[in-house]
């Protein structure tokens, strides 16, 4: 969702992007990638949308013009880009991908300004520390790395391996730190994904959110979810009151899950109409945008019960 909450960007299996006006639902379609897009983020002023595709390209889009256009397009990774993030001061774009690298780009020029190698497997997720001095990335085998932006060095790592399953019977490795969210006020980082992947080829795996101490990486809570035999956490976010929200999508359908630090089980569960694949929350308006398998983008409101 754009910083002002008035626009939502999504991507689809025809390799296009969609811009949705909130609340009217008016849609504009952007084409420019030659493959699916897994990485989307807005510039801090909301004027630009940046997309990272499975074609290895990053595209900067002008999205506040009547006719959105491509501002810049670069070859960024070998193979799929899995995630993008923008620094709080809007100066740096970070990207991660299947080539196991973490790359930094100038938001102003699109030039590469840094590259960090240290993940052994596909890198799925990336977020900035609110100070802008650190970058946090997560990979397939549940390694979370914390990088120093200034010198590109790996500062430390956090173990999120409960999110990784090696299913020897199916000769499959599955899971990973699919989503990350940091809350420095609470000194906590949450990592979302899946566990109990007894049949990953058959979509049998349960959603899992790990609540970890940011300072030392100690696991504080494993938020497992009963009764969801088919689910993957695609995105996690913090609400202003410290509640963690996750979206799970899989053979059990689409579910929003809410967690606090008092219990491992979720404190609230909201069943979405169909299987969800991604989520973003606009904190100012308490609106949740979810992208769904049935070609729908849904906006839900989070309001206190009357």
């Amino acid at each position: 969702m754009a910083p002002d909450g008035l626009q939502v960007a999504s991507s689809s299996e025809d390799s296009s992007l969609q811009l949705w006006k909130v609340p009217s639902g008016e849609k504009k379609v952007l084409t420019g990638h030659q493959s699916w897009v897994h990485g989307l983020c807005y510039s801090t002023d909301g004027h630009q949308l940046i997309s990272g595709g499975c074609d290895g390209k990053i595209i900067w889009w002008s999205v506040r013009d009547e006719t959105p256009s491509i501002l810049r397009k670069i070859d960024a990774h070998v193979g799929w880009i899995r995630g993008l993030a923008i620094s709080p001061d809007n100066s740096i774009l970070a990207s991660v991908g299947n080539d196991k690298t973490v790359r930094l780009w100038s938001m102003g020029t699109g030039e590469k300004i840094g590259e960090m190698a240290g993940h052994d497997r596909h890198v799925y997720s990336v977020i900035f520390h609110p100070s802008g001095s650190q970058l946090v990335t997560g990979d397939l085998i549940g390694k979370i790395h914390i990088w120093n932006i200034a010198d590109g060095k790996l500062e430390r790592s956090i173990d999120a391996t409960p999110l990784y399953t090696e299913n020897k019977g199916q000769a499959a490795e599955y899971g990973g730190a699919r989503a990350l969210a940091l809350n420095v006020q609470r000194n906590e980082i949450i990592a979302g994904g899946t566990h109990k992947a007894t049949n990953p080829f058959g979509a049998v795996h349960e959603p899992l959110v790990l609540r970890l101490n940011w300072a030392d990486g100690v696991l504080k809570k494993s938020h497992a979810c009963e009764g969801i035999p088919g689910g993957m956490v695609w995105r996690v976010q913090w609400l202003q009151d410290g509640t963690a929200v996750a979206v799970s999508g899989g053979s059990t359908g689409g579910i929003l899950l809410f967690f606090n630090d008092t219990q491992e089980k979720e404190i609230h569960r909201f069943k979405l109409p169909t299987l969800a694949r991604d989520m973003d929350i606009h904190l100012g308006s308490n609106l949740v945008a979810t992208a769904h398998f049935d070609n729908q983008l849904r906006i839900s409101g989070m309001f206190a019960k009357a």
């Binding site: 025809d14 493959s35 074609d55 799929w80 499959a172 490795e173 080829f201 979509a203 053979s251 299987l275």
Partner: protein, 433 residues
């Protein structure tokens, strides 16, 4: 002409009366030596000549059902194409998935069948028909390609089994792979790159004691066989003697004897080591090797699993093909990459693809096959074959023809002539040279 005499009263299980008469009149049978066991096959002199040609077969079984769209028949930019793209190959105009960049450089050695329709979406039945060339039916068992290759191509004087199956954990090889050919042609199963179990003589037994043990065993066997010989006892006897020869040649199974450079080129992962093992076995004259690569049954997350699996397959397989070509072995080796079926063009709600046998691909190379060829075509979204449709029966005939075997011939068992390939099917002549 020597004929095995069995206690069951049948004077042989190899030649039918009809075939014997036909070949006697043609003057061929007189030169043929039947070495006992089940199903002696084809004309003797021709069989020996075939064995002297030293042809081999290697099958890569992509267990679970490889997606043709993420391998040999990509449809980028279409509704069914998914996120993967296509790349050019060493054959101008031929593109394959971008998940196979190393294999793309070897395309000029390969022969790609893009019009396969086997009409069977069940794992077990699909595996059966792809390995036997026949549809599974009650009351009938047919030998797998490995057993047929062992029977037709293997030179037993080399002291190595003719039918070896390499699986990640050493499983398989327990079924009736050889059917009426008899257990002699069933596979020896290797777990990864471990040698067959129990191939080292126990330290407590010295060479002299070992020789005495086997002399005694042979003597007792001989006594027994004078009155009780059957095809099964022959198979037991053969197994013992084969095991002895195998023990003498167990170094063949030791890939640490390959150079470290080659070990690096093939990759240190299981599949890379198994490909190197396959090369080593073929170079030492094993007539059939099957390597299994698992798992492709990607009903969920088809694309990330194929990225992982194809990434592992690509470099090792491409290195294997290039090595066979460089060493002149590709002329004598049929390479087949098959699955039990392909995967649906439709992408399901879990980013998966399901079973699909109506329009998929099989890759072949080597022997008498055309090089750099593509045969068959699917429509724009990969849902149907629109040109050059072939099935398992035609492929099976083609495998045999590619290594010089007349696929129209029969094996005589208990007086019945059993065609080695489905007589209702025919080779794909257009891809044979």
């Amino acid at each position: 002409m020597s004929i095995a005499h069995y206690a069951c009263g049948s004077n042989e299980h190899g030649y039918s009366r009809r075939r014997f008469l036909r070949e006697s009149f043609s003057g061929i049978a007189a030169g043929g030596a039947i070495v006992g066991g089940l199903g002696s096959l084809t004309v003797g002199a021709a069989a020996e000549q075939l064995k002297s040609q030293d042809m081999r077969v290697v099958v890569f079984n992509m267990h679970g059902g490889l997606s043709q769209l993420e391998s040999w028949d990509p449809k980028p930019g279409t509704k069914t194409g998914g996120p993967c793209r296509s790349i050019p190959t060493s054959v101008p105009g031929t593109h394959i998935s971008d998940l196979l960049p190393f294999t793309a450089k070897q395309m000029h050695h390969l022969c790609l069948m893009r019009g396969v329709n086997t009409a069977e979406d069940d794992h077990g039945k699909g595996t059966y028909l792809m390995l036997t060339g026949r549809r599974q039916s009650a009351g009938a068992e047919y030998p797998q390609i490995g057993a047929v290759a062992a029977r037709m191509l293997n030179d037993e004087n080399r002291g190595l089994p003719g039918h070896i199956v390499v699986t990640p954990n050493g499983g398989g090889g327990k079924g009736n792979e050889a059917a009426y050919l008899g257990p002699k042609y069933s596979s020896i199963s290797l777990g990864g790159t471990k040698p067959p179990p129990n191939t080292a003589k126990p330290d407590a037994i010295n060479d002299e004691a070992e020789a005495r043990r086997h002399a005694f065993r042979r003597h007792i066997n001989q006594e027994f066989l004078l009155k009780r010989r059957t095809a099964i006892t022959d198979a037991y006897t053969h197994s013992y003697e084969q095991a002895l020869r195998l023990m003498e040649r167990k170094d063949v199974f030791d890939i640490s004897k390959e150079s470290t450079t080659d070990q690096d080129r093939y990759g240190k992962h299981d599949f890379g080591r198994q490909c190197l093992m396959a090369r080593r076995l073929l170079e030492n004259g094993v007539s059939f090797v099957q390597v299994t690569h698992a798992n492709y049954d990607t009903h969920s997350e088809n694309f990330i699993f194929h990225i992982e699996q194809m990434g592992e397959f690509d470099q090792s397989f491409a290195t294997f093909v290039a090595d066979l070509a460089d060493r002149g072995l590709l002329e004598k080796t049929l390479v087949v990459v098959l699955s039990e079926f392909g995967r649906t063009p439709n992408i399901n709600l879990y980013y998966g693809r399901d079973h699909w046998s109506k329009a998929w691909s099989v890759l072949m190379a080597g022997g008498k096959l055309a090089r750099g060829a593509v045969f068959g075509k699917t429509n724009d979204e990969g849902t149907e074959v629109v040109d050059g449709q072939v099935d398992h029966g035609a492929l099976f005939h083609t495998y045999l023809r590619a290594v010089g075997v007349d696929s129209s011939q029969s094996i005589a068992v208990d007086g019945r002539e059993l065609p080695i390939a489905d007589p209702a099917a025919a080779p794909i002549w257009k891809v044979l040279t």
